[in-house]
């Protein structure tokens, strides 16, 4: 676990391994809710196998805002860090193997790690990358049509399109599944010509 991370940050190897020990392995079937919108998140998740969907309720309907796959870590960052209600739900949509880190273990660990300059610097980098990620998603929404966003997704994250049911992708793109179906049809017709 966390092999990729250790490969990227060999100087933090021991600390990452210490971190790993605190995780608890868990197998869950599809449709398991790991965190409910509105609850305060006390757990953070690492995906060993499977796929999670992050979504929130908007006037009675799902709005998907993220998909997480093998090797990714996910938590309701603001809820977990600031003890406020989560603004979204985290749900497994495939049978998955998840490693869970409880808030109290995380806090203990962080208290240690805060003494550690190298770790803090790494932390800055990681959060910074997340900032850039969301900034780009945001810019794409201002800029692109739904069709363009779908083509971007095909280009940048083809595994998402392959693994995720289409109606979830539609809501992630901010459109209805009917409209996504039309867009796909249109793209297919254009490719034949």
């Amino acid at each position: 676990m966390f092999e990729q991370l250790i490969a990227r940050l060999p100087h933090l190897k021991e600390r990452i391994e210490k971190y790993t020990e605190l995780y608890q392995r868990m197998e869950v079937p599809a449709r398991t809710i790991l965190l409910h919108e509105g609850d305060i998140s006390r757990r953070s998740f690492y995906v060993e196998k499977g796929c999670l969907r992050v979504w929130f309720n908007n006037n009675g309907r799902d709005v998907t805002c993220q998909f997480m796959f093998e090797g990714q870590v996910v938590s309701s960052a603001d809820s977990f860090k600031r003890n406020i209600p989560s603004s979204f739900t985290i749900e497994a949509i495939e049978p998955s193997i998840i490693h869970v880190l409880y808030k109290k273990d995380y806090d203990t660990l962080m208290a240690d790690l805060n003494e550690d300059k190298a770790f803090l610097q790494e932390m800055v980098e990681i959060i910074f990358d997340r900032q850039i990620h969301y900034m780009r998603e945001f810019m794409s929404f201002i800029r692109d049509t739904p069709q363009q966003r779908y083509l971007n997704l095909l280009r940048d994250k083809p595994h998402v399109v392959q693994r995720i049911p289409q109606h979830y992708i539609a809501s992630y793109l901010g459109i209805t599944s009917v409209h996504l179906s039309r867009i796909r049809n249109k793209i297919a017709r254009e490719n034949i010509r």
Copy 2:
């Protein structure tokens, strides 16, 4: 300068003041471009007075993605930090007083400050807040209609609606100025009834 910041982080007072010294004051008229999209950003800006608009070119037309006012710091974060071309332009849209920090001064300062745990922790918090900001903007785009986004803006940042020309707000909302005008008309009619 930076009084609010010092008030919030009194334990970092000296370092913030050291930071301040490196800034250069600059008065610019409206329509001054402070950073061109595609250029590598070597400067970061603090707004003492006036207003900046952050935008990028999309097939020949402006897409606005942010407004910055008095007391805010702005840079093309990824460009400034990673030495890559900026994905947007920064422009003063009112006559403004700007304080400029050059990259080389910033780097020197950061090298010092990286020795400083308290500062690094603060840094994590600040970047983390930016992450949450962009995440929320992103979620709002998936979730809300343009009319709702305009009402949110009126509710959360009325000063933006008051100070910024409407066609810029339209592009920030991801719609045309004609459509924003229609939305405003509709809201006004609903309020009369």
